[in-house]
């Protein structure tokens, strides 16, 4: 053994024994300083043999001794101003991985104490001084040596999971720098630093390995911190790779070297965060050809360019499959629709023309099955996709055009049909080596964005002064009463209800009809006696009235009139309407209108008189307002009704003083509920009905069930409710596994309305077996149904049943 090395041996051994035993301040300081001499040494390429030996053999051990000594009384021995110099420097100047491991081990092995706190502080310093970059770089350099692999594994785990370790150990005393949202971006920066150093080495002709960086990147991404790291890394690489081929190669290698099991996360992160396809191909290079996993991820999972046509055909197949449509949740359909639209936008015209026939046949089948659906959202989705498809496939005028109201979802879908231009990607900033110039550009941006505000303010001021000078004269002139300035009407509204019937039957003047239609509801309500005389005739006229002149709000006005007459003269009108519902020669719309009117009238009757409603501030259920089209669709209301019901059952302690009780009035629906309900439920399977409800017309079937359920719901507290409930349960039993989701939703709604409206004890005594069966069925639906709405309402009904069980305590399995 060489003498110098021997010397080091002796020195360190002596120092360690001194440090662990001595309590003499001068002695300790001397020892530390002398060891430090070894650590420092001259900063040359070839460190002195003493230093080498020290670092190789004793550094880790020495640090451990040091950390063991970190206690209150020992630290007091060190002079306050030299504490950092004497102690921290050992950790911050030596080989970083050893220091890192010792620090982390100490922190995780100790309880909260001064020693731990000191180590945390040093570790914080360690991170702040970019020692992590040093660490990664050194590991990269020594990648070749075989004994490093286990060490690498340890380091990889420790570095990538540092925030977890720290959070677990320190709990509430954790430092901000160890929070994941701070630590991972820092790690990203360290990686950039490492890459920059490697770049310098490569430029200097030296060989270098990126393997550890890649591994670290993969591991971190795998743990779900892709965005945090890549948000730092990708923009930097985007700038650096712009013109430098060495940087491009670094970037390629960085991704290539990521172990296969972590590849997907890294690549998906790059795809998400890079600004446009150009940048992406610059960053990833030809990784698709080299790496199978990346190939799979990019071409199958992300559906990039080459395979589009194949994918489109597959998607179209699914899209036009009516069974798939019926049995998959709507979110999935939305996803498929979006994918179709995007691919359509990306395909070239020639490709589309080549496969025109297949696309067209797919489209036709798809449109048909979508339009058949009873769920409005599905129909609209189908229409929107079909429009995009035909716009691409058919050139010229032969394209499909549907009428539907665009909402945000459809707009988003349609916006996807315009391929994103390369220029629309944010232009990557020009190559700036230093950050200051970027800062500058940021500032200038801020300035430009500020300026318009200023100029706007100026103009505002100018306007203000102008208007101030103009204030004087106009205000001298006091306006007269302007209330007479109303819209000019050439015709007068009829004053008597019989006149309006006359007009609606015979008149051909659009304005006259419009005015009459607007007045008719009020006329009926104002003069019930006169209305009763001609109620059935008026109902007939209104029911058969067609919107010949495109009167705005026609459906709503007519519906209002029909509801008013039904409420005014309930028994004859309901008899008429329920008979007509099953009569021949009515259009689908008219039948649906009948159902709507019956439901709305039942609702109005079930509520206190309108005169009293005005005094009662918030009725338990709001009077239904007509929607945009003016027509009201009661079938969409049932969700709200249930929600409100649940809300009502929820007890809140923070409510303010209770309102005065509304005055009690007799329920107007109670004596007549049967007239609404039984004729409707009685006739559906008679052979003379115009169509086979059970098989074909699932829309009208669904609406019928919904309407029955609504009437059921409003008949709460009526004597006849139990009979209605029994009939309804019998009725829905036949259709509980109907193929159409809308019908199923109706049956579930019916169940919940029966549960809500019929008193629990009566229900249990009258139909206990049915309840058990229904419970099994509900459980099955809640678990297995394809439609989310069905699942949710089944769950709600189950909940209602559970509540019964609690309340009565007799509901046994």
């Amino acid at each position: 053994m060489e003498p110098e090395i021997l010397e080091v041996h002796c020195l360190i051994k002596q120092a360690i024994s001194t440090l662990s035993s001595s309590r003499d301040r001068a002695e300790i300081i001397h020892t530390l300083q002398s060891v430090k001499q070894n650590l420092r040494g001259p900063e040359t390429a070839n460190p002195s043999p003493q230093k080498k030996e020290f670092l190789k053999t004793y550094y880790s051990h020495f640090l451990q001794v040091l950390t063991n000594n970190l206690s209150v009384d020992w630290l007091q021995l060190l002079p306050v101003n030299q504490e950092k110099e004497l102690l921290d420097d050992f950790f911050l100047n030596g080989p970083p991985h050893e220091a890192f491991l010792v620090l982390l081990d100490t922190i995780t092995a100790t309880r909260p104490s001064l020693r731990q706190e000191r180590c945390v502080a040093i570790l914080e310093q360690f991170l702040q001084e970019d020692r992590m970059a040093q660490l990664i770089e050194e590991i990269c350099l020594e990648y070749t040596s075989p004994h490093m692999s286990s060490l690498q594994e340890t380091l990889l785990n420790k570095i990538s999971a540092l925030p977890d370790h720290m959070a677990n150990k320190l709990e509430k005393d954790n430092r901000a720098i160890f929070y994941p949202e701070n630590y991972y971006p820092l790690l990203g920066q360290e990686m950039v630093l490492v890459l920059e150093r490697i770049y310098e080495q490569l430029k200097g002709g030296m060989d270098s390995s990126l393997f550890f960086v890649s591994q670290l990147l993969g591991k971190v991404c795998m743990q779900g911190h892709t965005d945090a790291v890549l948000h730092v890394l990708v923009p930097r690489l985007t700038i650096l790779t712009q013109s430098d081929c060495i940087w491009q190669r670094i970037s390629w290698r960085l991704v290539e070297n990521v172990p296969e099991r972590w590849m997907e996360n890294v690549v998906s992160g790059f795809v998400r965060l890079s600004a446009g396809p150009n940048v992406l191909s610059r960053l990833l290079g030809n990784i698709v050809l080299k790496n199978k996993k990346a190939n799979f991820v990019l071409t199958h999972k992300f559906l990039l360019l080459q395979y589009q046509l194949k994918v489109l055909k597959k998607l179209l197949e699914t899209w036009s499959n009516s069974s798939a449509l019926r049995h998959t949740p709507i979110e999935q359909q939305l996803y498929i629709s979006k994918a179709i639209v995007i691919i359509l936008a990306e395909l070239s015209d020639s490709e589309i023309q080549e496969h025109k026939r297949e696309l067209l046949s797919g489209m036709m089948a798809g449109v048909e099955c979508h339009l058949d659906s009873n769920i409005a959202r599905v129909r609209q989705l189908g229409m929107a996709v079909a429009e995009c498809l035909s716009a691409r496939v058919n050139s010229g005028d032969h394209r499909l055009k549907f009428e539907y109201a665009e909402d945000d979802e459809l707009r988003e879908l349609k916006s996807l049909s315009n391929p994103r231009h390369l220029s629309s990607w944010e232009a990557p900033p020009q190559q700036h080596k230093d950050e200051s110039s970027q800062l500058e550009s940021g500032q200038s941006l801020a300035e430009t964005s500020l300026n318009p505000v200023e100029s706007r303010q100026n103009s505002q001021e100018v306007q203000d002064s102008e208007s101030a000078s103009e204030l004087d004269s106009d205000d001298e002139l006091i306006p007269y009463d302007l209330s007479i300035d109303t819209e000019l009407q050439r015709n007068r509204a009829p004053v008597y209800i019989s006149d309006s019937v006359e007009v609606l039957m015979t008149s051909a003047d659009p304005e006259q009809i419009e005015i009459t239609l607007k007045a008719v509801e009020n006329l009926i309500r104002k003069n019930p006696t006169a209305s009763r005389e001609i109620s059935v005739q008026l109902t007939k006229v209104l029911l058969h009235l067609e919107d010949k002149f495109n009167i705005s709000g026609f459906t709503g006005l007519r519906q209002g009139g029909l509801v008013a007459i039904t409420v005014t003269d309930t028994i004859p009108v309901t008899q008429y309407l329920t008979t007509e519902f099953y009569a021949v020669n009515y259009s689908l719309t008219q039948r649906l209108d009948i159902l709507d009117v019956l439901a709305l009238a039942a609702q109005e009757l079930s509520q206190p008189d309108s005169s009293q409603r005005a005094t009662n501030e918030s009725p338990s259920i709001q009077l239904l307002k007509s929607e945009t089209s003016g027509a009201y669709n009661p079938s969409q209301q049932w969700k709200k009704i249930i929600e409100k019901r649940i809300e009502n059952k929820t007890r809140r302690f923070t409510r303010g003083a209770s309102r005065p009780e509304p005055e009690a009035v007799p329920n107007r629906l109670s004596p007549v509920a049967g007239y609404f309900f039984f004729p409707l439920i009685r006739n559906y399977d008679r052979p003379q009905t115009p169509f086979d409800f059970l098989a074909e017309e699932s829309l009208i079937m669904g609406r019928l069930i919904h309407t029955l359920a609504i009437i059921m719901y409003f008949s709460v507290n009526a004597l006849v409710a139990i009979h209605m409930g029994k009939a309804l349960l019998d009725f829905i039993w036949a259709v509980r596994y109907h193929t159409d989701a809308y019908v199923r939703q109706g049956t579930l709604f019916a169940v919940s309305s029966v549960l809500l409206s019929v008193p629990n004890n009566i229900l249990l005594t009258e139909v206990p077996d049915e309840l058990l069966e229904i419970r099994c069925w509900l459980a099955d639906v809640a678990e297995n149904d394809a439609d989310e709405g069905c699942r949710r309402s089944a769950l709600q009904s189950l909940l209602l049943m559970e509540n019964f069980k609690k309340k009565l305590g007799v509901f046994t399995e």
Partner: protein, 399 residues
């Protein structure tokens, strides 16, 4: 005896009514759909209400500074007089009240049967009726040199000048026009007895400027062929207060407005201020600001900046569509519009603040104009309508 008593009572009542004036001249005849009695009762009720409101107003207005609550506002006034007997819808009106102090103020009206009435505003009767334009509709009239001369435009595509001095009613001259449209001409005095007349030209979008009394065309203004402006719908010839060069504003069928420099035959500015044909426009040279109405519900005011560019300033949406005519009062305080919805509307000119909606006519109002009385409080507003009546109003005349 009884009859004598009855007669003297009637006389007393009549005298009382005359003096106290609860019945106005407008109600001398029989107001449509109302008996005399109900008219009287209505009037008294309204009078009472307005008195009450005025009292309340008097106290409140001081406290609150401004007052614009509709519920308490004063009901709009009734017409001061109504002139009947034109025998056809009234298309155009022109006052002549300030030329000679001791003469009676008169009002010219042109109607759809080709008659021009000269109304005496003291007696409220037609002094003279001129038959003109082969019984074709009169589109526009204007006086020349006080009340001694008149110029009228008819649907027979001709402009006639009349000599009315010393009781004469003779056509001096007839100038054929090229256009059979509805566009009214515009007249501007250049010197004594010397006028410029702007009239729609032969081809579409063209405007022709004639020199009167020489009848020679001075300039023909042709917009560029690709402008697609449509026919000119209304013209306004005016002279800026500073410069001497006359300028012309033209409203076109496509809803756009153009400003022309006549002597250079150049279009100075173009503004698309309406979506429908412009039906009428008026301009206030002092404030370099004008107003235009169209067949839609919109009233637009626009200004002229120093570079002679038209700029849209303000738009006001009305309740009913269609403005047939508009006129700014000489004192530039208020502005009146004649609506297709039978109503005359009054606005404050500076900010287009709605001031009054006057309801009297039972058919669309075709024209509205203000009188040029010397004493401001005597000023009148006249409106002519399709219901063959001319209503005279006194609004916002208090100094």
């Amino acid at each position: 005896m009884d009859k004598f008593l009855e007669g003297s009572l009637k006389d007393r009542i009549y005298v009382h009514l005359e003096r106290q004036g609860p019945i106005r001249d407008s109600q001398h005849g029989f107001v449509h759909e109302k008996s005399c009695l109900s008219n009287l009762i209505n009037f008294l009720k309204r009078r009472q209400r307005s008195q009450m409101v005025k009292k309340v107003l008097g106290t409140r207005a001081f406290i609150r500074g401004d007052f614009c609550g509709n519920s308490m506002a004063i009901p709009p006034p009734d017409p001061k007089f109504v002139l009947r007997g034109t025998g056809a819808s009234v298309n155009t009106l022109h006052f002549c009240c300030s030329d000679q102090e001791d003469w009676n103020p008169i009002l010219f009206s042109g109607s759809a049967n080709g008659q021009i009435h000269i109304w005496n505003l003291k007696t409220h009767r037609a002094d003279k009726v001129l038959e003109s334009h082969n019984k074709q509709s009169v589109l526009w009239i204007h006086t020349l040199q006080g009340r001694n001369g008149l110029i009228s435009q008819g649907r027979d595509a001709a402009v006639s000048t009349w000599d009315l001095s010393e009781g004469r009613t003779a056509v001096i001259d007839s100038i054929p026009l090229d256009s059979y449209g509805f566009c009214q001409c515009s007249l501007m005095q250049e010197g004594v007895g010397h006028y410029l007349l702007a009239s729609p030209g032969s081809t579409s979008s063209e405007v022709k400027i004639l020199d009167l009394p020489k009848k020679t065309p001075v300039w023909v203004l042709k917009p560029p062929a690709d402008a697609k402006l449509g026919m000119p719908m209304c013209l306004k010839l005016w002279q800026p207060p500073s410069g001497s060069r006359p300028l012309l504003l033209v409203g076109y069928e496509n809803g756009s407005l153009t400003l022309w420099d006549l002597s250079e035959k150049k279009m100075l500015s173009h503004l698309a201020c309406h979506n429908e044909p412009i039906m009428c426009l008026d301009f206030d040279p002092e404030r370099a600001k004008g107003i235009s109405g169209s067949s839609e519900k919109l009233l637009s005011s626009w200004g002229l900046d120093n570079q002679q560019n038209l700029k849209l300033q303000n738009t006001l949406t009305l309740v009913n569509a269609g403005i047939a005519d508009t006129c700014i009062r000489q004192d530039k305080k208020i502005l009146a519009t004649a609506g297709w919805d039978h109503r005359i509307r009054i606005f404050g000119w500076k900010k287009l603040k709605p001031l009054a909606v006057l309801q009297y006519h039972i058919a669309s109002v075709h024209c509205v104009t203000f009188s040029d009385h010397v004493v401001p409080s005597e000023r009148l507003m006249a409106a002519g309508s399709k219901d063959q009546r001319i209503s005279l109003w006194s609004v916002y005349n208090k100094p």
